[in-house]
């Protein structure tokens, strides 16, 4: 008879075990998701086809997954960098909206020569994202306001701002829909000739490489770790704590702003109310699953991108409702998160004598 079980925290987690729990959580979550989808009437063989073959194993499917991955990498990185200095950037959506708006603004007013238009859109989106995160950062530094609340609320404010523009000055007069007019060709990120995959991929990969380098080998990255692990000790040791926190948090906001611009210039080609959908909490999920490690952010974003791609297919071809797709994605993510318990703790069972 099983009498009970004890959880014993591991002093350190072996890398192999860490990987194994991720894989096991993923397999368990996918199995559970498959069960739900079969009950909903999706034929079992189609599941394998949609979730694995069509999302990861065919060139076209892989292209879609990579396209979905690009903004996820940027927001995941944006959350992870802020997390490094104990800044919980929950409301990345606000910075994403601001970035998207900044890019749209440049496009609408045709600012700058055509050749520099796209770089200007991207640069301004980063500034806008950094500006939007500077507000909660200032509130936190000056008065200790919790950034969990302020970034979330600023996310809503940003969304209302977007709506205000789309239903007002920026409405596309050609269609009358609340979207901005489509971008000119020079304002779009070039396609790489592989499905919809665009040059935003290089931006995302570059950001990952840069973040990994900064954290891994630079003095600034080391200081950021020290600030994240013990801010008082970092201050007492004479580290420039304020500078480190500001540079990481503003950098995080800039990446989230860039994500907004990349969605507008890479896949949607216009600002609409729906481009931020699905990003609200993906940043924190990715950063947590990746343990704030930039290279792991890339891997997690890729898998999450696959999940989004498959979700889209389920909606369109099998008539699965949006709510059910979210449920299925939630089940998979929750399984992976819950599996972490077995990496962090050892379970010791006790049996009655």
């Amino acid at each position: 008879m099983l009498e009970g079980a004890l959880l014993i925290r591991r002093q350190r987690v072996p890398l192999g075990l860490w990987g194994a729990t991720y894989a096991a959580g993923l397999v368990f979550g996918l199995a559970l998701a498959a069960l739900i989808l079969v009950r909903l009437g999706v034929p079992a063989p189609a599941l394998w086809q949609e979730f694995v073959v069509q999302t990861f194993l065919t060139s076209q499917g892989l292209g879609q997954t990579v396209t979905a991955m690009i903004p996820l990498v940027l927001v995941g990185l944006g959350t992870a960098l802020a997390m490094r200095v104990q800044f919980w950037n929950i409301g990345i959506e606000g910075q994403l909206w601001l970035g998207a708006m900044a890019a749209t603004w440049v496009s609408l007013h045709d600012i700058g020569p055509a050749a520099l238009r796209l770089p200007l859109m991207l640069a301004l989106s980063m500034l806008a994202g950094a500006f939007w995160i500077a507000l909660p950062l200032a509130l936190k530094l000056l008065w200790g306001v919790s950034e969990v609340i302020s970034t979330l609320l600023l996310g809503s404010i940003a969304f209302f701002w977007v709506q205000h523009q789309l239903f007002g000055a920026w409405r596309d007069t050609a269609t009358g829909f609340p979207t901005s007019p489509t971008l000119d060709a020079v304002e779009r990120l070039p396609l790489l000739g592989w499905g919809q995959v665009h040059a935003g991929l290089w931006l995302a990969l570059g950001a990952v490489a840069l973040a990994a380098l900064v954290i891994g080998v630079t003095r600034l990255g080391f200081y950021a770790r020290a600030v994240g692990e013990n801010r008082r000790a970092a201050r007492a040791a004479g580290l420039p704590v304020l500078l480190i926190v500001c540079s990481f948090v503003l950098g995080a906001g800039a990446l989230c702003g860039l994500a907004g611009a990349v969605i507008v210039t890479g896949t949607e080609f216009r600002l609409s109310q729906s481009i931020g959908a699905g990003y609200l909490f993906s940043g924190i999920v990715i950063a947590y699953l990746a343990r704030s490690n930039p290279l792991a952010v890339l891997v997690v974003s890729f898998l999450l991108g696959g999940l989004y791609t498959a979700g889209g297919v389920l909606k369109v071809f099998y008539g699965i409702s949006e709510a059910m797709v979210l449920l299925v994605q939630g089940v998979v993510l929750l399984s992976v998160l819950a599996a972490q318990l077995f990496a962090d703790f050892r379970v010791e069972t006790r049996r009655a004598a």
Binding site: R12, R219, E229, N230, R235, A236, A237, G238, R350
Partner: protein, 519 residues
């Protein structure tokens, strides 16, 4: 589901002293944590009506074996027999129901509750539905029997540490504990309070209770103990009675493994004046004054001891000196410079070094490796790489050097600082702080929680620095530490500092009077 234990209320004489099985018998206990063998065939025998000192260095397994006894940990092997009955204990609640009560170093009391509410909470949790007035009456009756007073209506966070400890002991007794285990009970007490506690413990033993005192302050408890068990590196190495002509030097040798080196002698050769603090004042968050016009002078090569009961402004003084907070008024002059407005970095550059009371509060990061912690203060000088890039190999070599120089056990450069024992971590912190360019060391309770050997290593490091001409401001609650290192001593009480006196003129009576503010 086990039936809720009906909690008996312990009465005097409930546990006759003789003719019974031992109160607690632990045999062949093994316990590992992730491959680290904390206990290896350890044993412990406790009789009724006995005060039993459990002695050993940090990491010897004292707390671990008692956590096994109270079923906080499950042993890998061995048996736990309580009062002759081999009943498996599946958790702390089972242990409590079997009459085993442990008073941990960090009390299990709700700070915003009164003493009576805490007791009622615990009793109700154990299935005894007392009302608040009943709990208050039980409390005051039991306190009367034991010969002390405790206000049942006082909130816990308004009580002194010693009063909280009594509240915790009473709570555990009222829960029906016949066997009382106190983990380092005197560590947080003044000498006077410690004597009162040990007298209380003797009274409990006379009533028939069995009491375990986990401690590394052997000298303090030996006179009050009927038996002494010594543990070392997870094994029980001695179980004997002081009345059998036990040689305390022998006990210490067994606990440490060999005779510890003699304590360092600090030969003060005060040189040029270095530190001058004047009119230093600061307030706590609630507006009450933490420091009130504090003034002191300190010369090179001198140790000034500041004795005092914790919470009298010591932590604020340390934070003001390290630059983690700003004073409301006053000056801190180090040599020719006023440091009041200076950043921590500037202060470090001037040779100011700080050992805080809690190293993981403001000196080291538990989640960083040793190499990273040891390089934390040196990176900005360019010792570990260029302005932009970090030289991790050099950090590693430096850590290896410091660890080797400090006979470091239990960790290499890549070990997380949190995994190190307190003594080893403190030695490495001192190695980092007391470098050749240190001019002033502010050390706050540098040996708190450390065993004898680590304490001596810490004191030696301070003495070596002082011999090189470093000045040291030693803030401590441990009078022995103050007396052995300082050349002058003053007392801090309620944010005010007494006039310093030469250490030769200090008597316990004079200092005691200053500490409580009657002089």
């Amino acid at each position: 589901m086990t039936p809720k234990p009906k909690t008996p209320i312990a009465r005097p004489g409930a546990h006759p002293a003789s003719g019974r099985a031992p109160a607690l018998l632990l045999r062949g206990i093994d316990k590992s944590f992730d491959g680290h063998r904390a206990l290896q065939g350890a044993s412990f025998r406790l009789g009724w009506g006995e005060v039993h000192a459990l002695v050993g260095e940090n990491g010897a397994g004292k707390s671990t074996i008692m956590n096994v006894a109270t079923a906080v940990y499950a042993a890998d092997a061995g048996e736990v027999i309580v009062d002759g009955r081999d009943v498996p204990l599946r958790g702390p609640a089972d242990a409590m129901a079997a009459g085993l009560g442990m008073v941990h170093q960090h009390f299990r009391l709700v700070g915003s509750f009164t003493v009576a509410e805490n007791v009622a909470l615990a009793l109700r949790g154990a299935g005894n539905n007392v009302t608040l007035p009943e709990a208050a009456r039980l409390l005051s009756d039991r306190a009367d029997e034991l010969g002390f007073r405790l206000d049942a209506g006082a909130r816990i966070d308004e009580l002194s540490i010693a009063e909280r400890q009594r509240a915790e002991i009473l709570k555990v007794l009222l829960l029906g504990a016949g066997i009382l285990i106190l983990d380092e009970p005197t560590a947080v007490l003044t000498a006077e309070e410690a004597r009162a506690l040990l007298t209380l413990v003797r009274a409990l033993a006379r009533e028939g209770h069995a009491v375990v005192l986990i401690t590394h302050k052997l000298r303090e408890v030996a006179a009050y103990s009927d038996r002494i068990t010594v543990m070392r590196q997870g094994r029980t190495v001695l179980d004997a009675a002081p009345s059998e002509g036990l040689d305390m030097g022998e006990v210490a040798r067994l606990a440490v493994g060999e005779m510890p080196p003699t304590p360092p002698r600090v030969t003060a050769r005060p040189g040029a004046p270095l530190l001058r603090i004047a009119g230093l004042s600061a307030r706590r968050a609630d507006g009450s004054p933490a420091l009130d016009g504090l003034a002191l002078d300190l010369a090179e090569g001198e140790v000034l001891g500041i004795a005092g009961v914790g919470g009298n402004g010591q932590s604020e003084l340390v934070d003001l000196l390290s630059g983690l907070r700003r004073p409301d008024a006053g000056t801190i002059r180090l040599g020719p410079h006023d440091l009041v407005g200076a950043s921590p970095a500037r202060r470090r550059a001037e040779g100011l070094r700080v050992i805080p009371a809690d190293r993981f509060d403001s000196a080291m990061a538990p989640g960083l490796t040793l190499a990273e912690n040891l390089a934390l203060t040196g990176v900005s000088s360019g010792r570990f790489g260029s302005r932009w890039l970090l030289d991790r190999a050099r950090m590693r070599r430096e850590a290896e050097r410091l660890i080797a120089a400090n006979e470091g056990r239990g960790g290499g450069p890549g070990t997380k600082a949190a995994l190190l024992s307190g003594g080893n971590a403190q030695k490495l912190l001192l190695a980092r702080e007391v470098s050749s360019d240190a001019r002033l060391l502010v050390a706050h309770s540098p040996s708190r929680g450390l065993d004898l050997r680590a304490t001596q290593a810490v004191h030696q490091a301070i003495a070596d620095g002082v011999a090189r001409g470093m000045a040291c401001l030693l803030i401590s609650e441990d009078l022995e530490e103050i007396m052995s290192l300082s050349s002058r001593v003053c007392a801090i009480n309620n944010g005010r500092l007494s006039a310093p006196m030469p250490v030769a003129e200090v008597t316990p009576e004079r200092l005691g009077a200053l500490l409580v503010g009657h002089a």
